[in-house]
Symmetry: C2
Subunit: 139 residues, 2 copies
């Protein structure tokens, strides 16, 4: 139950881009966020393919958000690096387990999985920049 470094780095990258007035260059993101340049390369690619960032050409070149920060959730960034979120494979691939017919857990896994997705979807990049998230429960 860990997020990969790509997801963590991906979030830091998109936050850095979102926070900057102008475009950010790969090398500057890599330096600020202490991410190996070539590894960041792959992260940038993931964010770009999903349409979360884009590259501005011209005098002040660099990466900027491709959509409003209030429209990008943590889960969107997660999906830039993972095909889906399935805490157990049987959720995404019904045929993978021969016991699923009589599985007591399946319904519960589906519900818990849904809650985790909801948890990751509740905050946008804008929320994070604002530090405007509310702590509802007691931690």
């Amino acid at each position: 139950m860990k997020l990969t470094k790509k997801v963590r780095y991906g979030l830091r990258t998109i936050l850095e881009i979102a926070a900057s007035k102008e475009g950010m260059l790969q090398k500057d993101i890599a330096k600020n966020q202490q991410i190996p340049l070539k590894f960041l390369d792959a992260i940038i690619t993931g964010l770009k393919i999903k349409g979360l960032i884009r590259n501005v050409k011209g005098k002040k070149s660099g990466y900027v958000l491709a959509k409003n920060a209030s429209l990008i959730t943590i889960y969107d960034v997660y999906l830039a690096f993972e095909p889906d979120l399935c805490i157990v494979d049987c959720i995404c691939d019904c045929n993978m387990c021969s016991l699923s017919e009589n599985c007591l857990m399946l319904g519960i896994w589906i519900k818990i999985n849904y809650e985790i997705v909801a948890s990751l979807s509740q905050y946008t990049i804008q929320d994070i920049l604002n530090r405007g998230f509310k702590i509802d429960g007691q931690i």
Copy 2:
């Protein structure tokens, strides 16, 4: 963001034990749940060390729950195989990341992590046996 096979197998194991009137033998659990016998061996050990199951000696020997099924949550089983639940390392080890001082994400990670723990803690083995869990949201 996947649960390990040990956690999945561990849950199936404890459900099998909880559902049985008498004690269950390792070999029977292994057969029913299609878990390699020696791998199950390690799973049984994990559950036992955490005091979730115990071994009944005598004529009708086998494993039984060591506490009431209504007192064992999914998260308890999870903790039999993992040291903790930290979706990002910085939650459990403050010093692991040199950027944590100014990290915009840390507070959010802590909250999301808490929600996942809560999600895994909401159901007991008894709930699962009863199939008595409620689906609150829309899935």
